[in-house]
């Protein structure tokens, strides 16, 4: 099933993102049968979730975005997208998340028709987003020095219907370069030694100029890379970081201190727990002042309600530094 293009109805061999809850999104390949764990026998494709079992073939004929009922609850069958894929893909390496990916794509000025070079391929998180942006007339050349990872990525791209838009290379680009000249609009590097690749990147970019991005977790890598970029004629060398801050939206009720309310005053004694005339009187007065509520104890509490967005107790503090640069056109 293509991670490019849109469908309304689920068919066999599609990939469906099964949405159980916020942190549980599972990519499911829609097929009647699947290989068992040992890989030696075909079995009926049944997926176990915490709300019950899902017979995967039941998804066929259903529509994306519709509810899927399970024995103890329900889920949603969502249409795949590079963002959902990044959230749910099997990690083979540390991956790039949507926040950095979004900034990379805009800063590299990518759009349909662009040719992009990426190294390393890793788990293919960024690759899927890049392909989505440059397809159908653009192309992604992606390199990784790890043979298995390069192959796994290639298989995944094919399964996702993307093989026309991407070429995978198993290569050490630091030693060998990209093997492409005057080809790319943009180069993306996520390597331990990106400065070694800068001259190769320069050659592979188009003579009419292009953009480059290098992602590095460590500042030392950034320093070395920036120096190499400047020495090789890159301009507008700029290093930034971009972090996501998420807010949890909640309805909050806070008890309130009322300076006017004296719990020791006789008329405020509710120990017999019967609404008295004076209680009702107070309630009415309270309408003008503060809202009151009977608590378990004998003291009535005022409270204030509001909707708020609280940041998470723990947020990503660092992913990597993003360094961008422009290679000006060759004018002669």
């Amino acid at each position: 099933m293509a991670l490019h293009g849109f469908k309304e109805m689920i068919e066999e061999n599609d990939t469906v993102m099964l949405y159980i809850n916020f942190s549980t999104i599972i990519p499911i390949k829609v097929s009647e049968t699947t290989m068992n764990k040992k890989g030696d026998k075909e079995v009926e494709n049944i997926y176990q979730t915490k709300y019950g079992a899902l017979k995967v073939s039941d998804l066929i004929g259903k529509k994306f975005g519709h509810r899927v009922d399970l024995s103890k609850g329900f889920a949603y069958a969502l249409h795949p997208s590079p963002e959902l894929w990044t959230k749910s893909l099997p990690h083979r390496t540390q991956i790039l998340y949507s926040t950095d990916i979004a900034m990379i794509i805009l800063q590299l000025e990518l759009k349909p028709g662009c040719v992009v070079i990426e190294s390393g391929t890793g788990s293919g998180s960024l690759s899927h987003s890049l392909i989505r942006t440059i397809a159908p007339s653009g192309h992604l050349h992606t390199y990784d020095f790890h043979q298995q990872r390069s192959e796994k990525a290639r298989v995944e791209f094919e399964e996702h219907g993307l093989k026309d838009f991407v070429t995978c290379y198993h290569k050490d680009v630091c030693e060998e370069g990209f093997g492409l000249e005057n080809t790319a609009d943009a180069v993306f590097l996520d390597l331990p030694h990106p400065w070694k690749v800068v001259p190769h990147a320069k050659k592979s970019l188009k003579r009419s100029g292009g953009r480059l991005c290098s992602f590095s977790p460590c500042i030392e890598q950034v320093q070395e890379t920036c120096e190499q970029l400047k020495e090789n004629g890159f301009k507008e060398v700029n290093t930034i970081e971009c972090l996501l801050r998420e807010f949890q939206v909640r309805k909050i009720t806070l008890p309130e201190f009322d300076p006017e309310f004296d719990p020791l005053d006789e008329k405020n004694d509710n120990s017999d727990n019967l609404p008295s005339e004076q209680d009702n009187q107070q309630k009415e007065d309270g309408q003008k002042g503060m809202k009151r509520k009977h608590t378990g104890s004998s003291i009535m509490e005022a409270e204030k309600k509001f909707v708020t967005g609280v940041p998470l107790t723990s947020m990503p503090g660092h992913t990597g530094y993003l360094t961008f640069a422009t290679l000006p056109p060759i004018l002669s």
Binding site: Y19, F247, K251
Partner: protein, 455 residues
């Protein structure tokens, strides 16, 4: 019209040669602005008047040197530069001092007076020579540390850097220009927030999207159009008068065949089966009374860019260089009225065209970037978006998005609803002088994202 549109788009994308009438990004050192190239006109840059002849026909990326007219020192011609003088490589050659323990901050370290320097400038002395003289006449330059010297040179380069480069406009450059000029003109939509919008709505070539945009100069519409390439559809829903198109014009996208416009009041009428074109004669005069809106702007950086959602304002005619002609002779006004009539009619026809399209088939994504509270807007427009498609709402404030979050949750219209902001910081990276930049943006707006579902 669509054929012309496709041709025009191709011309902007493929051609490396600067054409007459093209909107370019003009860059002088770190300063950038958009400009429509007219070889017969001049451009005011700071205190200098620069002639634009000699630019058309050259390649984008060519460096031009500003050469002053011997008769009038403030007038400049642009001449292709053979070499660009880099102050650092020329003047950062000495040893430099160890540290600044003996350096006193007096105003007398520079022996040349301001008048002397200005005299040199006005008499056409080159930036290189001025720099030499400044260093010669500085008591402290040689004893400064090399870092300090570099900082000094960078500061002076800004002033005496007389090179101009013309670049093709891209959304990245455009939003940088707009944000630096006045972030509130685009509701504080910082570049990282814009980048998140584009990714979260999964914009891709061939997709069909709806953007409700007011108050951001059309930058969101322009960005999505850039990402659609040559296939797909973008329905720009707007509120009153005319849709804001300043950024579309800067990118050469205002005639894109992929763009449809839809006035939300027209949408309401059309949903009730009314014929909005048949009604036009009566409401036509009413619209004209309510005040003229400007015709499409050519430049994004006009400081008096008009807010088309404002209450009726008096008529204004804007010229390219931003000056306003006084409200005037009757002949001019009636001429303007005639010009306005076709624009109104066109907008109504375009609304009908857009409505037919979204009614025939729902869309693949929704973006809302507007000055109104988004709560009612998303519930109103959601019916035109297919299930399992994303929406993104931008607001400079958190509260409207929190309200909308609650609305969506209660109506169970969406899953994965998230309220986020992005934190952006830049770094100065120099050997042994690397640190985050001293000033950073305090905020770039908030986003509410999610995926529509069907229960």
């Amino acid at each position: 019209m669509s054929e012309n549109g496709a041709e025009r788009m191709e011309a902007v994308e493929d051609c490396d040669i600067i054409q007459e009438g093209a909107t370019v990004v003009l860059q002088k050192f770190n300063y950038m602005r958009t400009h429509v190239l007219n070889p017969k006109k001049t451009l005011l840059l700071g205190r200098d008047t620069v002639s634009m002849s000699g630019v058309v026909g050259k390649k984008y990326g060519t460096t031009f040197e500003m050469v002053s007219d011997p008769k009038n020192k403030k007038q400049f011609q642009l001449v292709e530069a053979n070499e660009v003088i880099d102050f650092e490589s020329l003047f950062l050659t000495g040893e430099g001092g160890q540290d600044n323990r003996d350096l006193e901050d007096t105003e007398n370290s520079q022996k040349l007076s301001r008048e002397q320097v200005e005299e040199m400038r006005d008499s056409g002395v080159s930036g290189k020579v001025i720099m030499e003289k400044l260093i010669e006449n500085s008591e402290t330059y040689q004893s400064k540390t090399k870092f300090s010297q570099a900082k000094f040179l960078k500061k002076k380069a800004k002033k005496y850097h007389h090179y101009i480069i013309f670049r093709k406009p891209t959304v990245r450059l455009l939003i940088d220009i707009l944000y630096k000029m006045d972030p509130m003109k685009i509701m504080n939509l910082r570049i990282d927030s814009l980048s998140q919008i584009l990714n979260m709505v999964n914009v891709q070539s061939g997709g069909r999207y709806m953007v409700y945009e007011t108050g951001a100069q059309g930058i969101v519409v322009a960005s999505l159009l850039e990402r659609l390439g040559d296939a797909g559809e973008l329905v720009h829903v707007y509120q009153t008068g005319q849709p804001q198109t300043a950024c579309l014009n800067s990118m050469g996208l205002h005639k894109s065949p992929l763009l449809k416009t839809l006035n939300i009041s027209h949408l309401r009428s059309l949903e009730h089966g009314k014929n909005i074109i048949f009604n036009h004669p009566k409401s036509e005069s009413k619209d004209a009374e309510n005040g003229a809106e400007e015709t499409s702007d050519q430049q994004c950086d006009k400081t008096s860019e008009k807010d088309t959602d404002a209450e009726p304002e008096k008529k204004r005619i804007k010229l390219e260089n931003g000056t306003k002609e006084p409200e005037s002779e009757n002949s001019k006004e009636s001429e303007e009225n005639d010009q306005k009539k076709p624009v109104r009619m066109n907008l109504r026809e375009r609304s009908v065209e857009a409505f037919n399209s979204i009614k025939a088939e729902s869309l693949d994504g929704l973006v809302i970037v507007c000055k109104q509270h988004p709560g009612n807007i998303i519930t109103y427009l959601a019916k035109y978006i297919k299930p399992s498609r994303p929406f993104v709402i931008y607001s400079p404030y958190k509260e409207p998005l929190m309200d909308t979050y609650m609305q969506l949750k209660e109506a169970r219209m969406a899953v994965m609803v998230m309220l986020t902001e992005t934190w952006l910081r830049s770094h100065q990276v120099l050997p042994r002088r690397t640190h985050p930049t001293v000033l950073m943006s305090g905020g770039g707006g908030y986003l509410l994202t999610g995926i529509f579902v069907q229960n």
